[in-house]
Point group: C2
């Protein structure tokens, strides 16, 4: 599959996901500020990589989009909540996100905290209400997703990231930080897609899903670190050089830009290898390659 | 049932819940600050009314404690997260909670946001993993709980509360604010207990559960408003007169302390009436009366 075709597919999945997300909101005049604060960040034009992973893994194993869509919405809502809370002044204090002022710059700190809380909560509501997938799969998906984004997952990773600003982490700790902070939600996205298609944790195909997801998750983060050093602020829609400013631990403390690039390539090949034997994995293999070649 | 016996029962349920909560934590040297921040607030000695409601409603309908306990933990974790986020400087800016410095005063704002996020996420994980109740009930419980504490529930109520500081709400808006901010989690606690016992939403007993819970939820909030005006800071473990300081909309803008007291009594009678026909509802009826007589 060419990158152009992949980008069309990403776009189509993004539109589908955004439609479903939009339909999950009902207006309420007493809650307008909250609803607008949530949607400001939710519809700020992200690449929607996580929902695409959910949808594509469900399709790979012959599942229905209808069963995958609530999970696709859930992972995007959780991704958005994490960006809103991470950007807060008490956290990474970022004023710009996806080319627009951060949520708290527009709505204030209190509303940004609450918009994040509501998105996180809404993610579990929509995932638990997945009638197309059924209660068994929904309960499993919520438990797995929550495990991956909670204290021993994404939140834990953010804590290691914040605390790491004051000390030098070992490479092992940095790998753990990123596997929690970025990797865990990417893995959950892939796994939830497979679950929606009826693939269980006991199924050996799930091992390939997890191998793919862990490899692209780490590659994704390495490319993030490279782009923060070498990227263009206009293309990225956010400030570059933030890692240095915040004294973040990045892979570039351990590797040159060139070495880090090779490392990311190598992980991508591992990811592709895990899926190659599955018919119809073209899009996911191309996506893995596209992710390390991205400029933003 | 005398209040002394009820207090023994509350204490026993609190100990059981705290044991289960404690067991849900595994140590991790890289995450110590987060885990300690969560547990600082989780084990700060709350009255554990919400877990007791879960356990007692499950018992009322002949369910097993084992099936109720994950839900009991979940509602207490969500209650604790809401207190941590509400106390943040950008929200209600409270320095004291349950007689101790607030979470952010001890761990800083960033860690308080993250501890809240982790508790909220952990609540859904533990509720979704309720194998004793089964997947069907777990998925239903997560969906209902998330619906009650999200944008159209508790978070929405907090938004109305914050925004209400700048304007005078109508009595209808105040009733809505409290039904979202306090009532929705209390109702979810009662409903999850009944769900754990196998009572479905179609079951007419669920109507009594909801009538009871909505009435005690509102009565609880009215007593809260009264105590903030007339209570003793030492007994309460938090500052009094906060409502006035923050220009909060309270029931005392519409009623005298005496009228508000009568109103709370009346709601309590409604709650008791809804349960009286159910054998074994003694503890829950006494709890309703105890809640309006409390001094903290």
């Amino acid at each position: 599959m060419t990158h152009e075709v992949l980008e069309l597919l990403l776009h189509r999945d993004a539109v589908m996901t955004e439609d479903a997300l939009r339909r999950s909101y009902a207006e309420d005049p007493d809650l307008m500020t909250l609803l607008n604060a949530e949607r400001y960040s939710l519809f700020a034009g992200g690449k929607r990589i996580r929902p695409t992973l959910v949808l594509e893994f469900c399709r790979l194993f012959d599942g229905e989009d209808e069963a995958a869509m609530p999970f696709a919405c859930a992972v995007e809502m959780i991704h958005t909540y994490s960006l809103i809370h991470d950007d807060l002044p008490c956290m990474d204090d970022d004023d710009l996100r996806r080319g627009k002022p951060s949520n708290h710059k527009v709505f204030g700190d209190a509303m940004a905290v609450l918009a994040g809380d509501a998105l996180l909560t809404g993610a579990f509501e929509i995932a638990a209400s997945n009638t197309a997938a059924g209660a068994e799969i929904s309960a499993m998906a919520v438990a797995y997703l929550a495990g991956n984004v909670g204290r021993y997952g994404m939140v834990g990773g953010q804590v290691m990231d914040l605390e790491g600003e004051e000390k030098e982490l070992t490479l092992d700790q940095l790998l753990k930080l990123h596997s929690l902070k970025t990797g865990a939600l990417i893995t959950a996205s892939c796994v939830l897609g497979a679950l929606a298609a009826g693939v269980s944790f006991a199924d050996e195909r799930m091992r390939d899903v997890i191998t793919y997801s862990e490899n692209i998750g780490l590659a994704f983060q390495i490319v993030d670190d490279i782009l923060d050093r070498t990227g263009d602020a206009d293309t990225m829609g956010k400030l570059v050089g933030r890692d240095e400013k915040h004294k973040k631990n990045t892979f570039l403390r351990f590797f040159s830009v060139e070495e880090a690039g090779f490392y990311a390539e190598r992980l991508t090949q591992e990811a592709v290898r895990a899926l190659r034997r599955h018919r119809g994995s073209d899009a996911l293999c191309t996506l893995a390659e596209w992710l390390v070649k991205r400029k933003a």
